[in-house]
C-alpha cells in the first residue's frame, strides 16, 4: 500500500476529473434556479466555497512538501474537515472564532470576506516559522488574524473552550462604549474542537457552564462546533457518542450537518448560526467530517487503521465531493476544475518557496519580545475630581481613618470601578456576600449585578470568563477564592491567558488582574486548601506578573498599578492577597494599629516593581521577604532592635518579575542576608533569591541564610506552626547570624 496518503488523495482527485467523460452542459449564467433542493447557495457562492476548499488542500500538500525539504515544521492537515469552511461562510469576521488546528478551510473562507487578505502566503509563513508570519511571528503554527476575528489558539486539548464561553457571556455585559471595535452587537462566538477533545474536562466544563448560564435564560451566543471525524489520533470515538452525550443537555440546542456535502450541509449550518445569533443561546453544531492524511504528516496511520478503513475515508473526500457537485451542477467543466486545482496548487507552492526565504528567529530577544513586561506609566490622568466627589458623596475615602487591608482594597475597587466602566468583577460569592473576606462588599450594590456577579463553582470557568471578557473589550478582575483552588485551573493562566501575546505578537491581549486570596497563617483553620502557600506553578509563566502586597496602602497602590498595566500593555496580573493580613490591625501588640493605613489618594505616586525597605541601608542584617513573611520580619526587627541590632527589612512586593537589581544592590550594602519565604523550600522564591545573590553579588555564601516553609501541605490545628516561618524563628536565626 502507498504510505503517503496525501499523494494518493491528490492522485485520486486528478484521476477522477481527468477521466470524467461527457460532463453536463454548463449552467446558463442567467439560470436563477436553486442549485439543489434545500440549498440556498448561489453558483458563485458555491464556487467560492469550492475554491476555499481547494486552497486548503493545496496548503496541506505544500506543508508536507516543505516538511520534506526540511523547511516546514507543521503537517497537521485540515483535509477532510472542509465542512468547517461553511461555518465561516455563514458567519462574519465580527463573529469571534476560537479555532482548533484543523481550521484551514474556515480561515480560507473567512479571508474571502475581507479585502487585502493573503491567507495562502500567510499560512506558508507560519509553516516555515518565519518571523514574518503575520499572526504569531513564527512562534507557533496557529490560525489567527485580528482583522478576521480569529484570536490564535495554541490548544490541542480544547483549553480554548472556557474563554470562548467567557467571551460569549461577557458580550452581554458590554455596551457600545466598552465593546471591542472588532465586534458587533449581534456577534456570536465560535468554538471548534474535535470529537476526541469533546471528552476533555475543558469542553465538558464549558458545556456545563454554557448550560448553567443559558438555563437561567441569560444570553450566551456561542456556537460549539464539534468536528467529528471519529478519531482522536489512533483512538476511535464510540459510535454515536457525540450526539448521545450532548443531546439532552439543558438549554443547549443540538444541530447536525454532514460536513462532506456542501449542498446538504449549507442550509443546516446557516440555520444553526442563525439560531445562535438571533436567539442568543448556545448551539452545538455536530459536524460530521472525515480525517484524511492521518493525524499529522508524521503519523503512521496504517499501523492502527486498515487500508480498507483509510480508503473508505478517502472515498468521502469532501473536496472531491464538492468539486464533483460543481461539475454535475454545470458550474465548471472537469477541465476547468483541474486547471483551477493545479493553479491553486502552483500558487501555494510558489508561496511556500517565497516563504522559506523569509527570515526566522535567531535570538531569544526577538522570540521573547511579546513577553516583555512594561512598567505602568507614572503619569496617568487623575480621576475626574467632581465625578469622584459625587460618587463618594463628598466623603472621600482618603479623608477617613486608617483601615485594614481588606477595607482599603474594597475602597480601591470602588474607586476603580466608578472610574472605568470596562471593569467587571466576578467569582464565587463575590456579589452580595462580598467575598469570604468582604473585599468585594457593596460592589454589587453600587455597580449592579451586570458588573459584579457570582459565578458557578468552577475556577476554570472563572478564568475562562476573564480571558473571554478581556477579548471582548472589558477589563476583568476575577477572584479566585483560595490559592489552592487556582491549581485545578491554572492552565487557563499558564497555557491560555499568558500565551496569547506570545502567539499573536501582542496583536491580541487579555488584560486582567486575577485576585487570589492566598497564603497561610490562618491560625490552624482550614488546612491545606485554605492555607496554600505554593506559587511554584505561577512563577515560571512567561509574561505573568505576580503582585504580593502585605500592607494595606501597598495593596491599594499595587492594585492600581496592576490595573494600569492591564490597561496599558494588556498585562495578566496575579494579585496574591494575604488572607491572614486582610483584617490585621496591629503589628507588635494589641491595639497598636501599626498595620493600618490611610487610604492613598488616587493621584499618589507609586513605582511598580520596586521593593519597600524598612530600616537603615547600612544595617548588620538584611531580611528579604514578602507578604506574611514581611509582617513577621517586621515583628522580629522590633525584637532585634530591643537587643540593639540594626536590621533592615526588604518587602519584595512583586514576586514576578523579581527585581534582581534591587535585591543585589540591597544585599551588597548589607553584611548578611536572611531570606524569609513562607513558600515551600522547594520551588519557592528563596531559591530564586539565592540564585540572584550568587550570580549578582557573589563572595562568601555563608553570609546568606533562609527560613522557608517545609515541603509539605499545611496541616490543620496548631501543627501548622511547625512547618512555616515564625516571628520567633526569624528572631533566633537572626541572632545566630549576628553572633549573639
Amino acid at each position: 500500500m502507498e504510505i503517503n496518503r496525501a499523494l494518493v488523495i491528490d492522485r485520486n482527485f486528478r484521476e477522477h476529473f481527468a477521466t470524467w467523460t461527457s460532463p453536463p452542459k454548463l449552467r446558463a449564467p442567467r439560470d436563477k434556479s436553486p442549485l439543489a433542493p434545500g440549498c440556498s447557495l448561489t453558483p458563485s457562492e458555491f464556487l467560492n466555497i469550492l475554491y476555499a476548499q481547494m486552497q486548503n488542500r493545496a496548503l496541506d500538500l505544500v506543508a508536507r512538501e516543505l516538511r520534506a525539504e526540511n523547511e516546514g515544521f507543521y503537517t497537521i492537515s485540515s483535509s477532510g474537515h472542509e465542512g468547517n469552511g461553511l461555518v465561516a461562510f455563514h458567519s462574519k469576521p465580527t463573529d469571534m472564532a476560537f479555532l482548533h488546528y484543523r481550521s484551514g478551510p474556515f480561515m480560507m473562507q473567512r479571508a474571502r470576506q475581507k479585502p487585502a487578505q493573503s491567507p495562502i502566503f500567510d499560512t506558508c509563513l507560519s509553516f516555515v516559522a518565519s518571523k514574518e508570519d503575520p499572526i504569531a511571528g513564527g512562534r507557533h503554527k496557529v490560525w489567527g488574524s485580528p482583522e478576521l476575528g480569529v484570536p490564535p489558539q495554541t490548544s490541542t486539548i480544547a483549553s480554548h473552550a472556557p474563554k470562548a464561553v467567557g467571551a460569549a457571556f461577557a458580550h452581554g455585559r458590554s455596551n457600545d462604549r466598552t465593546r471591542s471595535p472588532r465586534l458587533n452587537k449581534d456577534s456570536i462566538y465560535i468554538c471548534s474542537f474535535g470529537d476526541a477533545s469533546l471528552n476533555h474536562s475543558t469542553i465538558q466544563g464549558s458545556l456545563n457552564t454554557a448550560s448553567w448560564i443559558a438555563y437561567q435564560k441569560l444570553p450566551l451566543p456561542i456556537l460549539f462546533l464539534c468536528e467529528d471525524n471519529g478519531l482522536g489520533i489512533s483512538v476511535a470515538t464510540p459510535e454515536n457518542w457525540v450526539q448521545q452525550s450532548i443531546r439532552g443537555r439543558a438549554a443547549i440546542s443540538y444541530h447536525q450537518a454532514d460536513g462532506t456535502d456542501v449542498l446538504a450541509a449549507s442550509d443546516a449550518i446557516a440555520a444553526a448560526v442563525a439560531e445562535c445569533r438571533t436567539r442568543r443561546r448556545p448551539v452545538f453544531l455536530h459536524l460530521k467530517v472525515v480525517r484524511l492524511m492521518g493525524h499529522a504528516g508524521s503519523d503512521p496511520e496504517y499501523r492502527y487503521r486498515s487500508i480498507e478503513d483509510i480508503e473508505a475515508s478517502e472515498a468521502l473526500d469532501p473536496l472531491l465531493n464538492t468539486a464533483s457537485q460543481a461539475v454535475e451542477l454545470g458550474l465548471m467543466s472537469p477541465t476547468e476544475l483541474l486547471y483551477q486545482y493545479e493553479s491553486i496548487l502552483e500558487q501555494a507552492r510558489a508561496a511556500g518557496q517565497e516563504a522559506k526565504s523569509r527570515p526566522r528567529h535567531e535570538s531569544p530577544e526577538t522570540i521573547m519580545e511579546p513577553l516583555e513586561i512594561q512598567s505602568p506609566s507614572s503619569a496617568f490622568p487623575p480621576p475626574e475630581a467632581d465625578k469622584r466627589k459625587k460618587f463618594w458623596k463628598d466623603k472621600l475615602p482618603e479623608k477617613g481613618k486608617p483601615k485594614h487591608l481588606a477595607k482599603l482594597l474594597n475602597l480601591a475597587l470602588h474607586d476603580m470601578m466608578s472610574e472605568d466602566e470596562r471593569i467587571i468583577m466576578f467569582g464565587e460569592d463575590v456579589a452580595i456576600k462580598g467575598g469570604v473576606y468582604t473585599v468585594t462588599s457593596n460592589l454589587t450594590k453600587r455597580f449592579g449585578v451586570a458588573r459584579v456577579f457570582n459565578t458557578l463553582l468552577d475556577e476554570q470557568a472563572i478564568l475562562g470568563l476573564a480571558i473571554g471578557a478581556a477579548q471582548t473589550g472589558l477589563l476583568p478582575i476575577p477572584e479566585i477564592q483560595y490559592l489552592a483552588y487556582l491549581h485545578n485551573a491554572v492552565d487557563q493562566i499558564r497555557g491560555e491567558a499568558c500565551s496569547l501575546k506570545f502567539f499573536s505578537e501582542g496583536q491580541f491581549t487579555n488584560p486582567m488582574v486575577v485576585r487570589i486570596a492566598s497564603f497561610a497563617y490562618q491560625k490552624g483553620f482550614g488546612g491545606h486548601f485554605h492555607n496554600d502557600n505554593s506559587i511554584a506553578s505561577l512563577r515560571d509563566i512567561p509574561g505573568l506578573i505576580l503582585a504580593a502586597p502585605s500592607t494595606p496602602a501597598d495593596a491599594v497602590h499595587m492594585l492600581r498599578a496592576s490595573v494600569r498595566m492591564a490597561n496599558e500593555s494588556g498585562a495578566v496580573v496575579g494579585f496574591l492577597e494575604p488572607i491572614a493580613l486582610y483584617m490585621t490591625k496591629d503589628l507588635l501588640e494589641n491595639g497598636d494599629g501599626l498595620w493600618l493605613d490611610d487610604y492613598p489618594a488616587p493621584d499618589t505616586p507609586f513605582q511598580a516593581f520596586e521593593p519597600a525597605f524598612y530600616g537603615p541601608e547600612d544595617s548588620e542584617l538584611l531580611i528579604i521577604t514578602y507578604s506574611n513573611g514581611h509582617y513577621l520580619s517586621r515583628q522580629a526587627q522590633a525584637d532585634l532592635a530591643k537587643d540593639g541590632h540594626n536590621v533592615r527589612v526588604m518587602d519584595l512586593r512583586w514576586l514576578l518579575p523579581l527585581n534582581e537589581d534591587a535585591i543585589a544592590e540591597a544585599a551588597r550594602k548589607a553584611k548578611q542576608v536572611l531570606i524569609v519565604d513562607e513558600g515551600r523550600k522547594t520551588g519557592g522564591i528563596s531559591e530564586a533569591i539565592f540564585t540572584i545573590l550568587t550570580e549578582k553579588v557573589g563572595g562568601d555564601c555563608s553570609r546568606w541564610r533562609r527560613i522557608v516553609g517545609h515541603d509539605t501541605f499545611i496541616p490543620l490545628g496548631r501543627a501548622w506552626t511547625y512547618v512555616l516561618p515564625s516571628r520567633e524563628g526569624i528572631y533566633q536565626t537572626a541572632k545566630t547570624m549576628l553572633g549573639a
Partner: protein, 363 residues
Amino acid sequence: MTQRFLVVAPGRGTYGRQELGWINSHSFSPRALDLLAKADAARLKAGLPSITELDSSEKFRPSLHQSGANSSALIFTLAAMDFVTLEDRLGDGQKIAGVFGNSMGWYSSLFTSGHLSFEDAYAIVETMGQRQKDGLIGGQLIYPVCNSQWQIIDGRIKEVEQQLAELNKQDGIEVYVSIYLGGNLVLAGNNAGLEALKNSLPQVELGSHKYPFQLAMHSAFHSPLLSPASLDAKAHFATAPLSWQRGRYPLIDGRGYNWLPYGGSDSAALQDYTLGHQVTESYDFSAAVRIALREYNPDQVILLGPGSTLGSSIAQTMISERWRGIKSRDDFMNAQKNPNRPLIALGRSEQRDAFFSGLTTGV
C-alpha cells in the same frame, strides 16, 4: 515547472509623446488587431477619432491625446492588444496566474481577467470618460512618500492622511487620497483643495522633479467628488446591462480583494464595486500589488503597454514587501539585469522584444 505571470494594466497618463506611433512600431497577434478594429469601429460610430487615427497622428498633442475622451480609450485598447498578444504567444508551461490594474487599468483588467468582453469593458471606459467630457472635476496631484531608494518613509503616509483630514475641516476644501501608488500618493481634490495641498504639503525634490506635482487633464478620480459620475454610470448600465462572464483569471481589485474566475465572482458585486467603490473611494494599487505578490508569487510581473511609468510603483511595493529579497531601488535595478527579471515592461522595447523572443511559441 510552470512559468507563472501576473499581468498589470496601466492607468491614465501612460500614453505620452514617446508612445505616439505605438501600433506601427510594435507587433501584435491577429486577435489584438481584431480588438483594434472593434475599438476603431466603435469610436467612429460615436463620432470620435479612431484609435488608429490618434496613434498615427503626426504630432503628439496633449489636448488631443490626453483628453478624457481619448486618452482612456487609447490606453485601454493598446493594453488589451498587448494582453491578447501575450496570451497568444504563451507556450506550454506558461500561464497567467492573475491580473490587475491601476486606476483606469481596472477596466482593462475586467477584460483581461475575462469577466467582461472587450466591448463591454470598452463601454465602461467610454461611459466613464464621457462623464467628464464637459470638463474636469477637480484634479489630482502626485506626492512622494518614499526616499531615493524607493523605500517608503516610515509614517509618511499617515502624516499625509492626517494633513488631509485637517484640511477637510476647512470650508470649501475637499481633499482625498486618490491612489496609493507604491512610493507615491496620488491626491485628489476640488480646486480649492488642490491649492491648499500645494501650499501646505512640504515641498519634496526627488530625482529631477519637484512635488507636489499636479497631473494635467486628470479629474479627482477615486474620490467622493466623482460620486455623480458613479451614480450616472450606475443608471446608465442599469438600462444598458453589461454581460458579465465567468472570468478566466484571478482578478485583484483596488482594495486588494481577490475575485476568482470560472464563475467564482458574483457579477452583481463586481459591477457594484466597479461603478461604486472603485470610482468614489481610494484606489489602493499598493494593496493590489502586495496581495498579488503574496498570494500569487509569480515568476515575473508583466506590465502591459502603453508606457512603463507604472513600473516604478510596482517596484516600490516589491521593495516594501521585500519580495525575492528586493529591499531597495538598487536591489531592484540589479535584479532587473537578470534574464528572469522580476518586472517586464512591455512598453519598453528592449524588455518587450527580449520577453517575446524568449517565449517558446510565437504567432
